[in-house]
């Protein structure tokens, strides 16, 4: 019997291994070409930003270009204390508050429309294409349009009314598209099981659907927040007299000529990363809780 088992085990695999590994040390030359390309891409992507972060840590003699002149946190202090750099603190707090409101509205409406689109309804494809339309329309044009209409109707533009609306035109389609992807994994058997066990429609939503979709909802929230937090084109002509942070940064590039500008860049990047980290961490925690242990299906 051992003869049967070993008969052809010796010859075949060796020939195969050669065919799969053309170069002597195990990696084909294309690996090194592609790895170099990728490295260059990463440098081109992050290099400029890293320059700004480094230059923001100069001392009082610092300028806008290399070389570095000393190291300190001078320009960070300057950023929040000097009036000549603009209303950074106010802009920052407006941007955060606006982003939170946008996030909440985006999550709620995306979730509800995700539920709606699971069932076909009259005109659903029209709604869908209208949504995609607002996604691909140039932001600046949309912003100008909103500003124009407000002007005609005599509505005063402000960051918490017109800018909010303009930003939602951007975040909602995104949120709904993400929600589609999230919902596609929602097995309707869960809802039926809940119904079978006597749950009402509301109980099914809050005890079953929302908890199961929680990671996806966090992802939608993350989208909503970050898209709003650095939204520029749609907000530019709709925010009224008080600036959001991206608008403030933009106006600073026109009239501030000190490393405070870079310090602002460092701070906002840091905040973005903290929020993204928190969201991804939450998603990872939920996922881990569900699949840890010997998953057998």
């Amino acid at each position: 019997m051992t003869d049967f088992a070993n008969a052809d085990a010796d010859s075949v695999p060796i020939r195969r291994r050669r065919a799969l590994a053309p170069s002597s040390n195990g990696r084909p030359w294309t690996f090194y070409v592609l790895a170099t390309l990728f490295t260059l891409y990463v440098i081109a992507l992050y290099g400029p930003m890293v320059c700004i972060y480094i230059l923001s840590f100069q001392d009082v003699r610092g300028g806008l270009v290399f070389p570095m002149r000393g190291t300190s946190l001078h320009w960070f202090v300057d950023l929040f204390t000097q009036v000549r750099t603009g209303d950074v603190k106010g802009a920052f707090s407006r941007s955060i508050r606006l982003a939170v409101v946008v996030t909440i509205i985006t999550v709620v409406i995306s979730f509800l429309s995700g539920l709606a689109f699971r069932k076909r309804f009259a005109g659903d494809s029209v709604v869908f294409y209208l949504m995609i339309g607002s996604l691909v329309a140039p932001g600046l044009v949309l912003g100008i349009g909103v500003g124009l209409i407000c002007n005609v109707l005599g509505i005063e533009t402000s960051w918490y009314t017109t800018a909010l609306g303009a930003q939602l035109s951007w975040t909602l389609p995104f949120g709904v598209l993400v929600m589609f992807a999230v919902m596609s994994r929602l097995d309707s058997a869960w809802e039926e099981a809940a119904r079978d066990l006597g749950a009402s429609a509301w109980q099914t939503i809050f005890l079953v659907i929302v908890p199961i979709l929680a990671p996806g909802l966090v992802a939608v929230a993350l989208f909503g927040f970050t898209l709003s937090y650095d939204e520029f084109t749609r907000t530019l002509l709709t925010a009224g007299s008080l600036n959001t942070l991206p608008l403030e940064i933009w106006s600073m590039t026109l009239n501030v000529t000190s490393p405070s500008l870079y310090a602002l860049g460092t701070v906002t990047t840091l905040i973005s990363f903290i929020i993204i980290g928190l969201c991804l961490g939450t998603i990872a925690r939920i996922q881990k809780r569900r699949v840890s242990g010997p998953a057998v299906h």
Binding site: A189, W190, E192
Partner: protein
């Protein structure tokens, strides 16, 4: 209205999604209280749709569904006193075993204390006490099934509906869980309706087997009846274990038909209940594979036996018996299950000429449609 027992009556059930094709096409069936009933059929035969209509997840296009004597069409599942176990179990992935099982009590607003007590008792019953704090993803397939069973049973249903409950398990576990389902059914003392496409599963476990094809019931009855006395070619072939052979009636002799075909000569088949056939008709008859025995042509045999000369085409050893595949009779397989002790006394090899024979009254005339 309260449903007090788990008897089920389906009267003229029709289900059509598009108004033309009928997924379920006029099904009538009575299932007594506390029975274990299996719906058996290939995928797409409408068995799951019937289950879902009994559960209240779909409404029939026509017809009535009575549970415990009450018309239940239009009522939500809770008022029907039914509970369903889904094919993939549909356990809530974010809730642990205890919370999954307690779900039905939670949505009914049962107090925490009482809920906990009832849940723990049920967890004990399905032997999951050590795993009560685990999440579904941390359980094996068999454990998940027990959770699903417990979750469905906690509300004290009168009818438990199981949609392909064993299909997600591997072979060994399937046999084990099959026994467990039987045990649970006796313990709970309620009606089980079990949908499956595996005939072995159905006849092993069910009191009543309902064989379906294309939205219609082909045959319904005790497992042994359906296996041993199939009505027609479809049922016989689906349940397996039978040779179904086609031929032409040469003449009728008393209670028997004499059947011929290209390969068969003067095979006598008792008419049984099929008395309407006459000479010249094309008919099917069935003979169980384990009723067929094989002898070498020189030996011959008594005249009380039906005989078909044939040749061994393939031999498969199956453990307790040997599956001998013979030359086809027309388009039909002819297979003999020979007990392994008998076979190895004088083993055949592929290509041997043999006489396949059986006692005349073991053959059964089938209905032809």
């Amino acid at each position: 209205m309260t449903v007090e027992n788990g008897s089920i009556e389906l009267a003229g059930i029709v289900k059509s999604y598009d108004g033309t094709t009928r997924v379920v096409d006029g099904v009538n069936l009575k299932v007594p209280d506390r029975a274990y009933c299996c719906f058996l059929g290939p995928s797409g035969c409408g068995k799951t749709t019937i289950l879902r209509m009994i559960a209240g997840h779909e409404d029939p296009t026509h017809g009535e569904i009575l549970i415990g004597g009450h018309e239940v069409v239009g009522l939500p599942p809770v008022e029907r006193r039914t509970a369903m176990m889904f094919q993939s179990y549909a356990l809530f992935p974010h809730l642990n075993v205890r919370d999954n099982i307690a779900f039905a009590l939670r949505v009914r607003g049962v107090g925490v204390q009482e809920r906990r007590k009832a849940t723990d008792a049920m967890i004990e019953k399905v032997r999951l006490t050590e795993l009560a704090d685990r999440l579904p993803a941390q359980l094996s397939g068999g454990q998940q099934q027990r959770v699903a069973l417990a979750r469905a049973a906690i509300t004290g249903p009168k009818v438990l509906l199981l949609d392909e409950p064993l299909s997600a398990l591997d072979e060994q576990l399937r046999v084990q869980m099959r026994q467990e389902l039987g045990r649970m059914q006796r313990d709970l003392g309620i009606t089980f309706i079990h949908v499956t496409h595996t005939q072995l599963e159905a006849i092993a476990i069910a009191d009543i087997v309902v064989v379906m094809e294309k939205g219609k019931i082909k045959q319904a009855g005790p497992a042994r009846d359906v296996y041993d006395r199939p009505q027609d070619r479809y049922v016989a072939e689906f349940l397996g274990g039978q040779n179904v052979l086609a031929g032409r009636i040469e003449r009728i002799e008393g209670d028997s038909a004499i059947i011929v075909s290209q390969e068969m000569r003067d095979v006598v088949v008792p008419l049984g209940v099929r008395r309407t056939v006459s000479a010249g008709d094309r008919v099917d008859f069935a003979i169980r594979r384990d009723d067929v025995d094989l002898v070498r042509p020189e030996i011959g045999g008594s005249s009380k036996r039906a005989k078909v000369p044939s040749r061994v085409r393939a031999i498969e050893y199956q453990g307790s018996f040997v599956k001998v595949i013979l030359d086809k009779i027309g388009d039909d397989e002819l297979i003999a299950y020979v007990p392994d002790r008998v076979f190895y006394r004088d083993p055949f090899s592929v290509g041997d000429v043999v006489i396949a024979g059986w006692e005349k009254d073991k053959a059964r005339m089938l209905a032809r449609n």
